[in-house]
Symmetry: C2
Subunit: 321 residues, 2 copies
């Protein structure tokens, strides 16, 4: 609640443009949502429910499970707050428990401050690790970062570059490509076209600048292709995003964090969406941050959150059918 979360939530709910695609319930403190309405200058009719199963979906009022846990008067806005981080983590955990109990089909959350979450006691490398732990996930999972033109997936993520190189194995590449394929299918792409990035400059230049492409990446891509996944690669990292921008691919599987992040941030990733892919529960969030500099001014653009809600609804729906 220290950032623009409340006001973008209020805007999206007031617009009501997602009514055909999802049944949205707010889980949080009603006072925070009220604050968001004031910030955004919108009026919202809501109704409190004790349990999700009680919700009257025929009503136009926005249903809210009021956790009553965050009093906005006690927390400074526009600044990192460990207390707010702790409470955001609590709220996420409540939603995860509801999802695991089958009461929610997916979770969409406003931007959170990773530092606040960590200092608030949720000691994970990032929120994706937290979600994996809280859903008792075993095995591979990872971020999908989606912009308009394409989405990226990661063989490795929040580890040192040296460790990332050691983690470029046939097993992890296979898991990442399969996850990309399944996630894009769940997003409504019938036959996703995937590109797999090289690790070394110039695609290893025929072995002159490293041999991971020859030893590891190419044989793995060929094996996955033979399995029926439409994947190409390895492709030089300074070429792969140019091709993806021309819509030659739906998904890019990258070997290390910055490979994709350099590209997507330059390409307007801030208007994109981040999904935690591969877990039991669907998680989606706008890729932009908490925007402390414009909090409470009603300027914040709700487009990213709306996009995240659409993706969460589509992926949750794919699981149900």
């Amino acid at each position: 609640m220290t950032g623009i979360g409340p006001e973008i939530c209020a805007k999206v709910l007031a617009e009501g443009s997602l009514k055909e695609e999802a049944r949205i319930v707010v889980v949080g403190d009603v006072r925070v949502l009220q604050l968001g309405c004031t910030d955004a200058g919108v009026e919202l009719a809501w109704r409190r429910y004790e349990k999700i199963s009680d919700i009257d979906w025929s009503s136009d009022d926005v249903p809210i499970i009021d956790l009553g846990n965050i009093d906005p008067a006690t927390i400074e806005r526009g600044a990192m707050s460990p207390e707010s981080g702790r409470l955001s983590g609590d709220t996420l955990k409540t939603m995860i428990d509801l999802a695991l109990a089958g009461e929610l089909d997916g979770i969409c959350f406003a931007p959170l401050n990773k530092g606040a979450l960590h200092r608030g006691g949720w000691k994970y490398h990032d929120e994706h690790q937290m979600f994996a732990a809280l859903t008792q996930h075993v095995g591979f999972f990872g971020e999908m970062n989606a912009i308009k033109e394409f989405a990226t997936f990661r063989v490795t993520s929040h580890v040192s570059l040296r460790e990332a190189i050691d983690l470029v194995t046939p097993e992890r590449i296979t898991s990442a490509v399969r996850l990309a394929n399944a996630t894009l299918k769940a997003n409504g792409i019938v036959a996703p076209r995937l590109a797999v990035a090289a690790l070394n400059p110039h695609n290893g230049e025929g072995g002159l600048f490293g041999d991971e492409e020859i030893r590891i990446i190419r044989p793995t891509v060929e094996r996955l292709h033979a399995e029926g996944i439409d994947c190409a690669g390895p492709i030089s990292s300074d070429v792969i995003f140019l091709k993806a921008m021309k819509q030659e691919y739906d998904g890019v599987v990258m070997m290390y964090h910055d490979q994709g992040q350099i590209a997507t941030k330059l390409l307007g990733f801030n208007r994109g969406v981040t999904v935690t892919a591969g877990l039991k529960v669907v998680f989606a969030t706008p890729a932009h941050g908490t925007a402390f500099d414009i909090v409470g001014q009603g300027q914040a653009n709700p487009g990213g959150l709306e996009h995240a809600l659409r993706i969460a609804a589509r992926m949750a729906s794919a699981r149900l059918h």
Copy 2:
């Protein structure tokens, strides 16, 4: 001569827009220049000279040292040719010898095909290594890749990513930052503002994702800053180019090849210029390729070559004064 080189040279020379900034002599085969004029649909008055010292600079005719070494009738165009690569290398070597003898102040060349050069017998990792060898260079040198908004410099370049990490040392960072500073000064920027990239994701996240930032990069940047170089860093690679695009920096020093190449290629590097920085001789070339697909159609844009000539002239002039 298999690519668009001849026609963009003919266009730039026919426009004559660089007359105030440089005295340009063509070194090559006059038949290739004639071919370029035909392709480009321009008329050019030229005059052959035996020696550069013979040139009458008061004449409006374009001076050419006719090497008589390339007969266009014998080489297929629009395709990679080892023979053309061999002859391109010969021509470059002739120019380098002239520069080392003090007869040329800088060398600007049209796009070359790296594969053709290599197969033509010039067995170097890239043309920069070739230039370093032919100028008997000892010590650090490297590519500058310049786009309109900023230029990049490299601590490491055409090596495997694993080797690049091993080469991220205080000595190489120091050399690269000093080279960036000197090269941008030679380009007319009085006090270049430099940014130094991190190696690991999220700038190492305080040591959680690798410690090269703490052990190596930050202390080196601080030492260089204390020396009087305006440098900042380490800065996360997915943030540094966003800042550079906002003109917060004139130069970005990157740790490994793809860090900068992913960014600059997405940002229109093809309209940029590549300089081999740190050698006795100034070398500049457009960043785009030989464009085999449009050879001989007169469509090729000479803007990159013109930009490269301006940079070469400016840097050569800075050395003379």
